[in-house]
Amino acid sequence: MAEREEQGQEERQIVVFSLAGETCGMDISAVREIIRMPQVTRLPSAPRFVEGVANLRGNVIPILDLRKRLHQEAVAPDKETRVVVVDGGDGDIGVIVDAVTEVLRIPEDAVEGAGAGAEGREHVRGIVNMGERLIVLLDMTKVIAPRERDEALA
């Protein structure tokens, strides 16, 4: 764990997770907690990527399948599957990911804007270049944005 702290270097922390074979990340400030797959109640007439709702200590929160949200093939949950609970503005929202691997501290300038926001990559905020590996940094506000617009894109 060689963490370099340069003088005056802005840092950010990201939660790193895997999704459909890619390594992705999201800003830790959006994350409330990370839980195992809860029991999900299906929500009729909800968008395809909404898995349903779940009881999180007495609060009922919607659960999104990030694979379906990003038009990847859905898979059945296994013991690695995690739900990242993020602040959705109006309330918390759970996001299903394949596995959560680590929390990384990265220098601000490691985030490159490559391809961010481009056609088909509306949910990408940037690419984190960590030398030997690349992390796709997702813009969670876009991921959980009101669905009407994105339905049109889907």
């Binding site: 109640t41 009729p44 009881n55 929160i61 918390d92």
Partner: protein
């Protein structure tokens, strides 16, 4: 778990919170009073209420260091005096200025309550406000500070004692009022420097802002202190003037009541809060937390009762189990009582919702150059605060619609042979154990033919179905999500903006919304709401793997579902019921995966009714009737057919059926064929 709050350290915070809350009430009564006075300028009682509100606010705001608020309310108070003495009069223009002041004060209060810096009132507005009083002499600049010092002194026995001792030792009391250069640079520090300078030759008894407020870093434009000194004014002045940043110093011998602060005349006597307090204020967040906890208790006690019964069957003769069952039954009753008491605590008069309406209607009408006679009825009707919160936006929305789109302009009204002023009535009343809130206008109404034509255009109904529709069916179309965004209908018919949102929020609390309109002569929207939101009785049903809760207020009856009872009319299933027929919908087709469960033997039907239309819902299994605590569907603004969710005793989530929306949908899809 919520973090335990520090109990001891936040006394000052709590006092500030009490001020902020009281100020909000006073400002609201100022606004209401101004609106009433505008219509009845000769109402002496109203005038004296206004004076009292301004006077109280002047004192309390000065005490918490809000010199700007104190100054504005002082000028308002002067104006009300002038009106009383016949030196000034009330007009719409004057009311505009005063309402603007109230808005400004509201913003100050808001900023103060959330800890943002509070800006001084703009000089231009102050002089405009002062101008209202006409020739009356401008108030002494330091009058608010002097008043605040007097209040602070009155509030502190210790300070009075210091003053008494100093006086008996031959010292004299002075007030020292300081105005800083603008902008005040580190004024808080300057205040301390001034106090230090004064204390070299005097004893500081009170100050405004107080030391505690200075420590909180409240921005300061002006500073005042009450001191007792053996030396003269000159020496004090010299000491204070030596501090940098001081623009002017005013030192006066202290007298009570202080100069410039005339005691209010008897007509305006400020009533002392002499009576012992029988009520107390509670933070709404705490109340909501308590209510949530009670809600969970209700759910758990139901679950516990069930478990106790299971145990009892299993170990009938076990004494411990018997005792457990007894205790459980007792707990059951206690929780019931607690729940009822909680509902009572949460009952508030609907005037808390209506309070902002007169101002809103006035401004809307002025902006759209309409003349609107606005009336409120049944403001004292009580209902659950939670219900009020849920429907607040809906009612505001309906009111806006009524003024914006319902009421026509004066010329148009005259041409139609109506009185120039349109009437909008918002009323609340009890009716058969429910609260009915209606928004009524005598405006242009809605053209039913246009609405149905539009619905056909948008593919919501077929031409054929549209022709068979009753007016009631047509009004239902206005509540459809697809319909609401249509601007053309808004302009021509004057309705339909966000009515789907209105229905959703009303359904979410288990209520109903109805619309009636006569083209050319007005529209009435009626909300039927439950008295309380805390818990409601829900019928739990299973559809496939999903659990649904149907509020029993919509349930007419339940029955077994057998083949013989079902017929097909025009390709749609109906249930034969005592000689009549009711449209039948299999919930598995609507909400399930469309799997095989729809023909499961042993299924049941639930006949629901909203308004006049019954509907039979085919479900797989009837489970139980339960107390249900509704949880909003967070962060999901729309999910058709679902009004909310509820967590059951074992932690599973049941979906609360949006019954009225479902009935409307089926009724629309089938036209009138099934009747």
């Amino acid at each position: 778990m919520a973090e335990p709050r520090a109990q001891a350290g936040d006394t000052a915070d709590r006092e500030l919170a009490v001020f902020a809350e009281e100020a909000a009430e006073l400002l609201q009564s100022l606004e209401d009073g101004l609106l009433r006075l505008e219509r009845a300028p000769d109402d002496r009682g109203e005038l004296s209420e206004l004076f009292r509100a301004a006077h109280t606010l002047k004192g309390t705001s000065a005490m918490v260091g809000l010199a700007g608020m104190s100054e504005v309310t002082h000028v308002m108070e002067d104006f009300f005096s002038a009106v009383r003495d016949g030196q000034a009069t009330i007009s719409s223009a004057v009311t505009d200025t005063l309402l603007e002041s109230v808005d400004m004060l509201k913003e100050m209060r808001r900023r103060f309550s959330v800890g943002e810096p509070v800006a001084e009132p703009p000089t231009a507005h102050l002089s405009l406000l002062r101008g209202l009083t006409g020739g009356a002499p401008p108030a002494r600049r330091d009058a608010p500070e002097l008043a605040a010092l007097a209040s602070a002194l009155e509030a502190s026995a210790a300070a009075q004692e210091v003053l008494r001792r100093a006086r008996s030792a031959g010292h004299k009391a002075y007030s020292v009022c300081v105005e800083f250069e603008e902008p005040p640079d580190r004024a808080g520090v300057r205040c301390y420097q001034i106090l230090n300078a004064l204390e070299e030759s005097a004893v500081a008894i009170e100050s405004v802002p107080s030391k505690a407020d200075l420590d909180h870093g409240a921005p300061v434009q002006r500073f005042a202190a009450l001191v007792a000194a053996g030396v003269g004014k000159g020496e004090l002045r010299a000491a204070v003037s030596a501090v940098t940043g001081v623009r002017s110093v005013a030192i006066r011998a202290w007298r009570r009541p202080p100069p410039g602060e005339e005691p209010p005349r008897t007509e305006f006597a400020v009533s002392p809060e002499a009576q012992a307090r029988r009520t107390m204020r509670v933070d709404l967040e705490r109340l909501d937390g308590l209510m949530n906890t009670v809600g969970e208790l209700v759910v758990d006690r139901t679950r516990m009762g069930e478990l106790a019964r299971v145990l009892q069957r299993k170990y009938e003769r076990d004494a411990v189990v018997q005792e457990l069952c007894g205790t459980s039954a007792h707990l059951f009753r206690l929780v019931d009582e607690l729940n009822d008491a909680m509902s009572q605590v949460r009952m508030v008069p609907i005037s808390t919702l209506f309070a902002t309406f007169p101002r809103m209607v006035r401004d809307l009408a002025r902006n759209t150059a309409k003349v609107v006679e606005f009336r409120l009825e049944g403001e004292e009707t009580e209902l659950d605060r939670g219900v009020i919160n849920e429907i607040k936006d809906a009612v505001i929305h309906l009111l806006r619609n009524a003024v914006d789109h319902g009421i026509e302009g004066p010329a148009e009204r005259q041409a139609a042979g109506k009185p120039e002023a349109g009437t909008v009535l918002v009323a609340a009343r009890h009716e058969q154990g429910r609260i009915v809130v209606s928004v009524e206008d005598d405006g242009s109404g809605i053209d039913a033919a246009l609405v149905s034509a539009r619905a056909v255009d948008r593919g919501l109904v077929t031409q054929q179905a549209a022709e068979r529709m009753s007016d009631g069916d047509i009004w239902d179309l206005l509540f459809e999500p697809g319909f609401s965004t249509s601007e053309r209908v808004t302009e021509t018919s004057g309705r339909g903006v966000g009515m789907d949102v209105v229905r959703r929020s009303v359904s979410a609390v288990g209520g109903l919304v109805e619309l009636q309109s006569v083209h050319g002569s007005g529209t009435t929207v009626t909300l039927r709401l439950p008295l309380t939101l805390a818990t409601f009785q829900g019928l739990l049903v299973r559809v496939g793997e999903a659990l649904f809760a149907i509020p029993v207020s919509y349930v007419q009856e339940t029955a077994k579902l057998d083949r013989q009872g079902v017929s097909t009319v025009l390709g749609a299933e109906v249930l034969r019921l005592r000689g009549g027929t009711v449209p039948l919908v299999r919930m598995s087709e609507l909400y399930g995966d469309g799997g095989a469960s729809s023909n499961t033997p042993g299924g049941a039907v639930v006949v629901v009714r909203a308004g006049e239309r019954p509907l039979a819902l085919g479900v797989d299994e009837l489970l139980a009737q339960r107390d249900v605590v509704a949880k909003p569907l967070q962060a999901m603004e729309s999910c058709e057919g679902i009004a909310g969710t509820s967590v059951l005793g074992d932690g599973t989530v049941a979906l609360i059926l949006d019954t009225p929306a479902l009935i409307a949908k089926v009724s629309r899809e089938r036209g009138r064929a099934a009747r």
